[in-house]
Symmetry: C2
Subunit: 221 residues, 2 copies
C-alpha cells in the first residue's frame, strides 16, 4: 500500500475498533442491568434490557459491512487481515451475548414474580461480566496475556455451573413446590455459562490474532 | 485476476466448499446418532458421539485457515468475497452444533439411566436435523429459496420448545419424583432449539451471500 492508501486504511481500521468497542459496551451494560434488575426486583429495568437488543443487532450488521468493505478495498495482509477476519467472528459472539442477556431478563421477570430466588446468582454473574470485558480489551489491545487470563476464569465458571445445577436439582427433589423459581434460576445459570463460553471464544480469537496460532480446541491437550 | 490465477482460485474455492460439506456431514451424523442412541437406549452410541467432536474441531481450524489463505492470496471480490467471509462464520455455527450434539449425548446418557423419557423428542429432533442439512445445502448451492424455507421452520421449532418446556414444568409440579428425567429432557429441548438457531444463522448468511443484503434481525419487522 502507498502512504496515502495506508493512511485511509489506518483510519478505517481505527473506526472499526471503535465500533466493536461500542457494541461491546452496549452488550456489557445489558448483562449488568439484568442483575441490577434482579437485585432491585425491578420489572422495568429487566424489560428495558430487551428493548436495547435492536441497537446491538444493527451494530452487528454494520460492523460486518465495515469488515467486508475493508477487505475489498485495501486487501490487508498479515496481522491486519487476521484482525478483520477475527472481527467478523467476534461480532457474532457479541450479538449472541446480547440475545442471552434478553433471555436472562425474561427469566429475571419470572424470578421477581416469586418470593425469593433459590440461589445467589450475583457472584457468578460478576465473573462472567469481567470475562466479557477483559476478552474484548484483549482483542482490541492485542494483549495475549490478558486473553490467557480470561481462559483460566472459564474453568471457574464451569465448576460453578455444575455446582449450581446439582444444587438446583437436589432442591427440586426436596422442595417440588418451588419448581417455578428453580427452573428460571437454572436457565440463568446456563445462560451465564454460555456468555462465558462466548468470552472464551473472543479471548481465543485474540490470541490467534496476536500470535498467529490457533489455540481453539488445544487447551488441556 | 488473469486466467491462470483464476483457475487456481476456482480450485481452491471448490476445495473450500468440499471441506465445509465434509464438516457439515460429520456434524449432522453426530446429531442423528444422539437420537439413535436414545431410541436404541445405547450408551455406547451416545459415548461415540462425544469422541467424534475432535475431528469437527480440527476441521473448523483448517477451514478458517483456508478462508484466510484465499483472502490473502487472491483478494477475491463481490460474491466470492461474500462466500468466504460467510464461510468464516458458518464454520463457527457448525462447530457449536457439534458441541451441542455432545451435550445432548450426555443428557441422553442421563435419560437412558431412567426407566423412560418423559417426552417423545424425536419429532422435534427430525425437524432440527432437516433444517441443519437444508441450511448448508442452501449456502453451498447459493439457493436463497431453500434458505427461506429453513427460516420458516424455525418458528415451528420455537413453538415446540415453548410447548415442551411448559409441559415439563407442569409435569415436574405433578410428579416431582420424576425430576431426574425431566431435567435432561428439558436440556435436550433447549439444545435442539439452539441447533435450530444455528441453522437459521446459516440460512440467513446464505441469503446475504446470494442477494447481497442482510436479512438478519429483519424478520417480522
Amino acid at each position: 500500500m502507498d502512504r496515502h492508501i495506508d493512511h485511509h486504511f489506518d483510519e478505517a481500521l481505527a473506526a472499526l475498533k471503535q465500533q466493536i468497542l461500542l457494541m461491546s459496551s452496549k452488550v456489557e451494560s445489558m448483562v449488568e442491568d439484568c442483575f441490577r434488575a434482579l437485585a432491585a426486583r425491578s420489572d422495568l429495568l429487566a424489560r428495558q434490557v430487551t428493548e436495547r437488543d435492536h441497537a446491538v443487532d444493527a451494530l452487528e450488521v454494520s460492523i460486518d459491512e465495515q469488515c467486508i468493505e475493508l477487505l475489498a478495498r485495501y486487501q490487508p495482509a498479515a496481522r491486519d487481515l487476521r484482525f478483520i477476519t477475527r472481527g467478523l467472528k467476534i461480532v457474532t459472539d457479541l450479538e449472541r451475548v446480547g440475545d442471552l442477556a434478553c433471555n436472562v431478563a425474561s427469566r429475571v421477570l419470572d424470578l421477581i414474580a416469586e418470593e425469593h430466588a433459590p440461589l445467589d446468582l450475583l457472584p457468578m454473574a460478576e465473573i462472567v461480566q469481567r470475562m466479557l470485558k477483559e476478552s474484548i480489551d484483549a482483542f482490541i489491545e492485542g494483549d495475549a496475556a490478558k486473553a490467557e487470563a480470561v481462559l483460566k476464569q472459564d474453568d471457574i465458571v464451569d465448576q460453578l455451573t455444575t455446582k449450581h445445577v446439582h444444587y438446583l436439582i437436589e432442591l427440586a427433589v426436596r422442595e417440588p413446590q418451588g419448581i417455578r423459581r428453580i427452573f428460571p434460576a437454572s436457565s440463568i445459570v446456563r445462560h451465564l455459562e454460555r456468555m462465558a463460553d462466548h468470552s472464551t471464544n473472543i479471548a481465543e480469537l485474540a490470541i490467534f490474532m496476536v500470535k498467529g496460532r490457533d489455540v481453539r480446541h488445544k487447551r488441556g491437550i
